[in-house]
Symmetry: C2
Subunit: 335 residues, 2 copies
DNA sequence: GTGAAAGCGCTAACAA
DNA sequence: TTGTTAGCGCTTTCAC
């Protein structure tokens, strides 16, 4: 059996209250007893039982993280940001990989409730009405990271995807491009799909006076293969595009592979702009020019926001927008 | 306040023991009371407090995962395997990103002890004497995943890196290569550095009768930049190599980039063999031929092993070796 | 400054 | 089958 507070009390010849005081408010304990207790703690290798503590204090210093797919580059960088910020404030993370499965999601919410987490960070996936309903019942502080929702008024940390889409096109326009296509995420993806597309559309309209964009846009699922086939379709319809804005780095690489196989060179024959600035953007050939999300920072800020929430502080702003920026590498050229 | 077992008892007009029984051993409760209790639970939205349960049962259904860098591709895939297996058996994961910082590591071990985790999975990094000493004091079940140690007799799940190194060279030999270089990890890396190098060395000796290999080997830190500069040095010393075996996919990509910049084409002018089969291997240009570690499976098996351990079962084998295999893509050609 | 005692929410004897 | 009670390890009054 592991030593308990009783064992420490016995060994040092004081009451358990005094031991407790040494751990929580050492200043109010006489120096002599404090030393004796500290010595006993060391000797026994005692550590307090966080379950017992949590049972009383109603705090577990643990938060749940709901994430669609931890193995994905982008998600794991976000988790790292959460973890680093958590570590600094003494918060542990319980990772829940939902696989985008609502049932699994609901199950995790129940587990987290039972484990008495101090809060929950929900990431990446659109926060549906169903989730909002369940979460409301649980009355646990909740922060959205790198996603958003219209189903409730929830604290959120993210970039402004519509603006990012706009800026991406603006960048290409500045580089002299006028025939700009897009490989978008699904339009029913309210997080990284539709908003980026809308930004693209607005930029084409406001900057180039172009309106009928449908033929210049194709769709993928943010993955490599999706980018490949989208580029294939797009190229057959619109062989004269000089640049394509892709809603993810992976799709950008898929597009590049297709073009490469067709004998077209990036960026000499056609420019490709990615999105996310994942690790692969730095190590691909050519290196990807891309719209960077400060994803690690989003993680950090989300955790800080959650901390404020659990501390009962007033939030300065409900939604925090972090700045995206364009990282210039080798996949876009001036024309 | 959240409803407790008392509230349920009161509402359904039974004792708290009966409520407890409904949750744990429903069969021994009369149908009538069971129904009443279940109804009350639903009405109140009651869930049991896992802290209180854990305090008595001495089980938290939570395990700690110590990981050097969660944002890394390889690590997050491993975590996914752990998480999936954990989810199936009702185990939650507390993720601890150690940043390879011994202090942080020691701190996490203390936290996990306090939180009364049922076990710990230690991943990727070599398990040092110091860690072994601390862990031994904590008396918590511990499994190593994708790493090993000579500091203690610990349950382990991994591939056989020496054999994998051997097989990599053997594969290249079968493809007709005789002038084979290597970009190895650091030799003092006892996990993914030295063993793979030793496999390479043995294969060169046994298969090709070559012994003086020093000039043909260079070293990197498993990262892209490390692969780039290692290839640079290697190429200047040994321009006649027909194939280079890299101890990680990232280093392989770094090497390819260097060669590309020198005007050499992979695989036409020189073949490159990677290691890990990370996501980037599938989406690089050319697609990487690589030694695949079943990293997701390693995660799953490690969690299963830990479950057996905490259940007090006898382990069939201390170290479980999972099979590596070579994934043929486009970066190696026959000569 | 210190100790005794109550109690956090639950499970597990023990009686009935 | 059910209820009463002790107690898991700790914090926090409340006296002294």
């Amino acid at each position: 059996m592991r030593p308990t507070i009783k064992d420490v009390a016995k060994l040092s010849g004081v009451s358990i209250s005094t031991v407790s005081r040494v751990m929580n408010t050492p200043d109010i304990v006489s120096e002599e007893k404090r030393k004796r207790v500290e010595e006993a703690i060391r000797e026994l290798g005692y550590s307090p039982n966080a379950l017992a503590r949590g049972l009383i204090s109603k705090q577990t210093h643990t938060v749940g993280v709901l994430i669609p797919d931890i193995s994905n580059n982008y998600a794991s960088e976000l988790v790292k940001g959460l973890e680093d910020a958590g570590h600094q404030t003494g918060i542990s993370l319980i990772i829940c990989n939902t696989d985008r499965d609502p049932e699994r999601m609901v199950h995790y919410l129940e587990i987290l409730k039972q484990k008495q987490v101090d809060g929950i960070v929900f990431t990446s996936e659109y926060f549906s009405e169903e989730y909002a309903r369940i979460a409301a019942k649980h009355r646990v502080p909740l922060v959205l990271a790198a996603t958003h929702t219209t189903a409730a008024e929830l604290p959120t940390v993210k970039i402004n995807d519509e603006e990012a889409g706009f800026d991406a096109v603006q960048y290409l326009v500045k580089k002299g491009h006028r025939e700009i296509g897009m490989i978008s995420g699904p339009k029913d993806d309210l997080v990284a799909g539709l908003p980026r597309y809308l930004g693209y559309e607005r930029a084409c309209r406001e900057l180039l006076g172009q309106t009928d964009l449908e033929e210049r846009v194709d769709y993928g699922d943010f993955r490599y293969e999706g980018g490949y086939t989208a580029m294939q379709r797009l190229y057959h319809r619109q062989p004269d595009l000089t640049a394509v804005f892709c809603a993810s780095d992976e799709m950008a690489l898929g597009a590049i592979t297709f073009l490469h196989e067709r004998g077209l060179r990036v960026p000499d024959d056609i420019s490709i702009l990615g999105f996310d600035n994942t690790k692969i953007a730095k190590i691909s050939l050519p290196k990807l020019t891309t719209v960077a999300q400060p994803i690690y920072q989003i993680g950090r800020e989300a955790m800080k926001k959650l901390n404020r929430l659990t501390a009962g502080e007033e939030l300065i702003e409900l939604t925090t927008y972090l700045r995206h920026r364009i990282i210039e590498r080798d996949s876009v050229k001036s024309i």
